[in-house]
Symmetry: C2
Subunit: 188 residues, 2 copies
DNA sequence: TCAACTATGTTCCAATCGGTACAGCCAAGA
DNA sequence: TCTTGGCTGTACCGATTGGAACATAGTTGA
């Protein structure tokens, strides 16, 4: 058979979507094999550690994407208010207006959280910290910046839950608009 | 062997805790059998429909608890502001300050949402509606009441996610305090 | 007192699980 | 051209899955 893709980096986003859809336990090797188009042999060639290595790879991938597109722009922005707006756009894009689930959030609610505790914690801790940094640069005092940042992350995650529960993308869009407004206003 | 408990209603809360801890796919019959202390024979006597029936029973149980302790008091409160405060206390209790996960929220993020879509949707829809009713009675106009209610439910769910991800119960407590303050203030 | 019924533990089942072994395939370098 | 080594499909492994069957023990009503 011809060498078509054969790079871990090509398979990782597909794996991410599978884990998002089925969760860790629900993602069986057979559905992984089917949706990636890779036989078990290939899967274990790329991920000798099996499902666990697939999941950590996916989590690292997600972490890197957020670091590059969200955390770093927030931390190093010249105009923090513009960076915050940009974050909201990126997040809306990434989560497809709530149609897409946050894999890290889903893992956090599951008992697999324990197996990936470090990566799950870091994802949210860095998000909160980067947003707080931007909020401070926008003129909020440290305590207020931390509170606003935490509230924003909470609202985004909660909106993903509620939006999927009600099967209504408007929930997420409304929530994100509120988040942006409150972050930019800075007051209660 | 002696008849010890032998009621569905005795097993249901245990099942709920198992599903909360492991998710639907992760809750195998063997752990269910172990934690309930019931053999497979007994489990299938009480729940002929297998795991699916166990889950729907648990969801119905949760729905009834919230109807009785949260939704109904909110809808029929004489003093809506006191009812809102009572809701916050009930919720903090129920979720054990964030140490306990919202099973319905966890299901919403999983692909099992599709199998229990109606129960998942109703849980959140009724919560939002009951809270909005109380907020209207407290003097908010309907649009504002709906927005505040949605925001509160989102914040609670998001706080459960973030709290578990960071393994920090203070996250949930802070969030709930903010929710109560904002619901009672009524303004932005 | 004795059948009828309910609850329970044990056992078994086919299917599927995650994972391994391995033989061959292909493209590229020597 | 031949070799090499990364990739792939297939067959298979033991373990576990969700589920069903069944014999028996406890309870109950006649």
């Amino acid at each position: 058979m011809a060498k078509i893709v054969a790079e871990r980096s090509d398979v990782t986003p597909v794996l991410a979507e599978i884990f998002r859809e089925h969760g860790f336990e629900g993602a069986s090797l057979s559905v992984i094999s089917e949706k990636t188009g890779l036989g078990k042999g290939s899967l274990y060639h790329f991920f000798p550690g099996g499902k666990e290595e697939m999941a950590t790879t996916v989590l690292r991938d997600i972490g890197q994407w957020f670091e590059e597109h969200v955390y770093l722009p927030l931390r190093e922005a010249e105009d923090p208010r513009m960076a915050i707006s940009a974050m909201c756009r990126s997040v809306a894009d990434y989560f497809r207006s709530g149609r897409r689930v946050c894999l890290v959030g889903a893992f956090a609610l599951d008992d697999v959280r324990d197996r990936f505790a470090d990566q799950v914690r870091d994802y949210f801790a860095e998000w909160r910290a980067a947003l707080a940094t931007a909020l401070e640069k926008a003129g909020n005092d440290p305590a207020r910046a931390g509170e606003l940042a935490e509230e924003a992350v909470i609202a985004i995650q909660g909106a993903l839950v509620l939006g999927r529960a009600l099967d209504d993308t408007a929930v997420f869009e409304r929530a994100l608009a509120r988040v942006e407004g409150r972050l930019l206003a800075g007051k209660d």
